[in-house]
Symmetry: C2
Subunit: 349 residues, 2 copies
């Protein structure tokens, strides 16, 4: 089969490798219908040291189950499924509490053992806990926009949902989303779906913030830093935002987030922090009782509801995919996202 590997910053190759096989009785092998490139892949695209060994890439897919291990009971060959971006048993203490990305048996794609999902076929460990069937849907005849929206449930949309959920967004809430990437826009859509009263989107790419407005952003602030903070404070009568969703992962975005959050409010992070230490003392979080939350989204926790919402036409999160390319053009997909020529690229094996 063909699969995508990164050999260093900017060096993405699609190569022919042996097909994945069932290794554990809990495994499934899935034939990929669509995969895609994630904003988090771009961190590596910009920084991965060059190596003679390619790193398998990709952690998002929709596909059709090809084969299952002897212990798999929840999915069957022929099932059309969504795979969350991490795998999990869905039964351990942490999964039961809704934090599947900390599953004691779970893990991440992209290691030599589990491979990546930007491929024609993928081995899915812990298939019963990880794959969720899309009912009554034939991927060979489904509308491309439906496929895109189902693919968005694998990571990007439910990551945005996680940010809003952890931020306790609800009716009456003012939310500010920092970042107009695919995850930030998804957080806008999820916040509206959770009933947010007002959604301020901080971003400067008009074609992206326009989608944000369609998805429920009531205000757009293009300014950053102190000026951006001042504009959000003006928009909120000087009080600040109940929830600040930080969908970037860089320190300036974090600083904006605690600058705009109101007393007792929540900074909810979904951009993977590219820093370890940050201000949390009296002058940033503590003095105003601001809460800091967020982390890798336990997509599995939200996936059934997300599939139902997409099939019912309640949301169309697949609109973040503005380009679809064949899998063989994965290198071009990375380049387009790195240069911001594309918001998010779907890959079609």
């Amino acid at each position: 089969m063909r699969a995508t590997f990164m050999y260093g910053a900017g060096d993405v190759r699609v190569e022919t490798v042996p097909d994945p096989t069932i290794q554990q009785p809990t495994d499934a092998v899935v034939r990929v219908v669509r995969a895609c490139v994630c904003g988090s892949d771009l961190h590596r695209y910009r920084s991965l040291p060059a190596s003679g060994t390619g790193r398998p890439m990709g952690h998002e897919l929709i596909g059709v189950v090809e084969e299952t291990g002897s212990a798999v009971t929840a999915v069957h060959p022929g099932d059309f499924v969504v795979a969350p971006f991490s795998f999990q048993d869905n039964t351990c203490a942490f999964c039961r509490e809704g934090f599947h990305t900390s599953c004691v048996d779970g893990g991440w794609y992209g290691s030599p053992e589990t491979g990546g999902l930007q491929a024609e076929l993928a081995r899915i460990p812990l298939a019963d806990g990880s794959l969720v069937v899309v009912p009554d849907t034939d991927p060979t005849t489904a509308d491309p926009s439906l496929l895109a929206s189902l693919l968005a449930l694998s990571d990007v949309y439910l990551t945005g949902h996680h940010a809003a959920h952890m931020g306790r967004v609800g009716p009456g809430t003012t939310v500010t989303v920092i970042g107009d990437g695919a995850v930030g826009l998804s957080a806008v859509l999820a916040s509206r779906r959770l009933g947010a009263e007002r959604i301020i989107l901080m971003g400067r790419h008009t074609e992206r913030t326009d989608l944000g407005r369609e998805w429920g952003a009531t205000d757009v602030v293009a300014a950053r830093g102190a000026e951006g903070v001042a504009q959000v404070m003006d928009l909120t009568r000087g009080e600040g935002s109940h929830v600040a969703i930080e969908a970037v992962g860089l320190m300036p975005a974090y600083e904006q987030a605690y600058g705009i959050v109101r007393p007792g409010g929540v900074v909810s992070r979904i951009g993977i922090p590219q820093y370890e230490d940050a201000p949390v003392g009296f002058g940033s979080l503590f003095g105003k009782n601001a809460t800091l939350t967020g982390g890798p989204a336990p997509v599995r926790a939200y996936l059934e509801a997300g599939i139902a919402d997409v099939l019912a036409g309640e949301i169309e999160p697949g609109r973040v995919f503005d380009i679809e390319l064949p899998l063989t053009a994965a290198a071009e997909a990375y380049r387009l996202m790195d240069t911001r020529e594309a918001l998010k690229v779907a890959l079609r094996p």
Copy 2:
């Protein structure tokens, strides 16, 4: 009247100064029945630069209203009241949301303008929003233990309650309280009151942890650092604590807190952080979806319920006061708390 001033680290003096007077129509003057020394006063006791001008000290009191400004309607001369450690209007947007310590009109005691509460008399700004009447209680005949418990509502107990409340402690929760000072012990009592299933107290002063056990601690861990973290992990089947209440304010306690909190759990801080930057990235908070919360307790939000609980005998938070001294001995009170000879000292004018 006599009032307490600090002239520098270790230099506390009780001096005779003019009585406070009504300065704003929203003021009240209160005759102090009991005041006390706070753990947070000790930070200054150890670090305040020497000065020829004394800093007025104290922010906790119970007392009897002596005089009210023309705009005060909720309290009257003769009322027996508890004063939260900050003053607030109790009507602004942030007060309405339960975060009175961020009141737009509020503030802190201990400035030259508002004075301190370790005194015979105190001017209370925004009296309608700040003072809460203790019904049907005569402080001249009340049991000393009742007075102590009411005094504890001014700060220490409701600060512990705030930590548990922000940490979302409830039935089924495992809570670990880091710190066996008066606030930590109060957090134990408050966590039990909120229904925590298991309460692990981290502290090494047996006479204090014994009170913690009486108040609901199911386990005591004397070890600190990595060994303390390991012991808490052992006690929780390797899973960690749903809530880690950090009642110290120093970096090692913060590090213990994120070390013991389980995935999806909450680190709730009430020790005023003596640091600004701290680990919050993938390796500390983000990776396991841990939430960081806490801040200065909005005591006013919890005060009516606290008074009712104390009067009903449901809780006896005043047991944190192990010594009572006359106000004139305030310097000795600070010394005893600084050397840990006393847990918390009440002052009687």
